[in-house]
Symmetry: C2
Subunit: 328 residues, 2 copies
């Protein structure tokens, strides 16, 4: 069990940069106990005025693209070159990992995980995407209050989590592999549309030529689509963790994006829209959770779904039947 | 006011192909009166076993692409060549049109609107996208029970309605113009991803060369993306309503798609998934409608949104405040 403190203690210690208390506060937000939840909300609301000052960077890519290696390289670069304080949060709704995941992160990012300026926090195990997104959002607030200037939000799973990460971050990095055959394999178009930069990893040795070809192809593909509302031209960059190249250039892109969008107010507008999105999203999720855990609804849900699938009941009639159970 | 019949009368007359009664039943589904809604649901549930036997074709494209002209051409072709019975339903959530829209459709599709084998039904005015999608879905069921073998669902508005149409139809046709400059202007990537065929319209005269170039470009763009779950290779075709070319080829593509997906069971699977989608979507929409029309919630919503936008309250705290109002 986690040790609890008073609200003031959490607030003071987190603002002082105490990472043990930071970790406990994050664990508190993940707790299912109502008392913990209330305590967590109090802490978060007290720290909210001290949050928001980081650059939140989402990082995604298919398995095998070298995400951990890239994060390790970029993270160490930022700490050595700019003395930045960096937090790495992972979104992994499918994970069955438990406490062992911290060891996992030590293996994944061996140097970064020992840096005093880096804080790596795995995603809690066995929760829904909505839950993980919420914890991550609250973790971002807590980390920012603790003085972290750059926050990586990494998708470990694939699929829907990218949308969640995109709505949690300022800058969205898509890592790609210059593959044989279909360059976009496994990468849904919707993900490309969300990206603020594409980075082709492992662009070294015999791979370099292939990587350059892929770069040109992605650039062409991006040109087909309209300029995003930020006015930002999405770059396609090359990097190699092996030869340690391209990392500085990716950071320059991020800095250029921050400068441009702070100037044209897109930065602030995007964050406000994200806040509104999470406000409505939370309401939506809570309404559905309450509905689907209603005992009568839970009991009949499968039968109604079957009736819809087999064509016995229209989707609307089946929905009305269930809704009547909860609201009668 | 619409004249009402008994459930049996609606059912018998619609099954007999009486289009006056069909129209009245559709109007009934659009009514906001609870008694009408109940009657409509009874009729729909009775007719459900007689539905499902049509090919449902979604047709979308930016304004100016020649959607009406294309529908007129393809519709008349199907009626003349194959003696098909065809219904055209429009989805237009932004529309402020009232009764006058029927006249509008007569102007938009002058020949088709006079064909005894064609039934054209405009979208009801002043309703939300969710509402229109629902009416359209119910209209499809009613039209199928009335013996229509092909159903066009046309998006009149732009933006989100494409997703709704995609989830209502078997085959999704995206009409495109070979334009000067950016070929994909105004067409969001997500829409291309949903398309089962791209048709470049106005491919005639001086436009022909441009259209062929655009065709090659779209074909390249499509090759970048993985094969959809249906196993269907999305064709890029050319058509001209002026020279009456390409229309038969589009129909051949649709028939090939139907044959292929009925063989590999994707056809049935897609329809079942659509039914489940609408089941959950209806529940979601109803829960939200009830929540946001709750008097206390409605009164405080704007203030909470403001508090979130200005950073005074976290998205989650603000959501919790509102949820407590409705559930206390």
């Amino acid at each position: 069990m986690v040790k609890r403190f008073y609200v003031d203690q959490y607030v003071d210690q987190i603002l002082a940069g105490n990472r043990v208390v930071l970790s406990r506060a994050i664990t508190l937000t993940e707790s299912k106990l109502p008392a913990d939840q209330e305590l967590a909300q109090q802490v978060i609301n007290r720290l909210l005025p001290y949050s928001g000052n980081s650059i939140r960077i989402g990082i995604t890519g298919a398995p095998g693209v070298g995400k951990s290696t890239f994060i390790e390289a970029l993270g160490n670069y930022l700490i050595k070159q700019y003395q930045k304080k960096l937090a790495v949060l992972a979104i992994d709704p499918t994970s069955q990992r438990t406490g062992g995941s911290i060891l996992g992160d030590k293996t994944r990012m061996p140097v970064l995980s020992t840096q005093p300026n880096a804080y790596i926090r795995p995603s809690p195990a066995g929760t829904s995407l909505g839950g993980v997104a919420r914890y991550t959002r609250e973790s971002i607030i807590l980390c920012e209050a603790a003085g972290f200037e750059i926050i990586f939000v990494e998708t470990v799973g694939v699929g829907q989590s990218e949308t969640a990460v995109h709505s949690l971050t300022d800058f969205f990095l898509l890592l790609l592999l210059a593959g044989a055959g279909d360059e976009l394999q496994g990468i849904k178009k919707g993900i490309m549309e969300m990206a603020d930069a594409l980075v082709i990893t492992k662009a070294d040795g015999a791979n370099q030529e292939k990587a350059r070809l892929a770069q040109a192809e992605y650039q062409n593909a991006l040109h087909l689509f309209p300029v995003p509302p930020s006015g930002w031209q999405v770059p396609v960059q090359l990097s190699s963790a092996l030869e340690n190249t391209g990392i500085g250039e990716v950071w320059e892109s991020i800095e250029a994006y921050v400068q441009k969008t702070k100037q044209n107010q897109h930065w602030e507008k995007k964050r406000q829209q994200q806040n509104l999105y999470w406000f409505h999203q939370t309401i939506r999720q809570t309404l559905e959770e309450r509905f689907f855990t209603h005992p009568d609804v839970a009991k009949q849900l499968k039968a109604k779904e079957q009736a819809v699938l087999s064509g016995q009941l229209s989707a609307f009639a089946a929905a009305a039947d269930l809704l009547n159970l909860a609201y009668k």
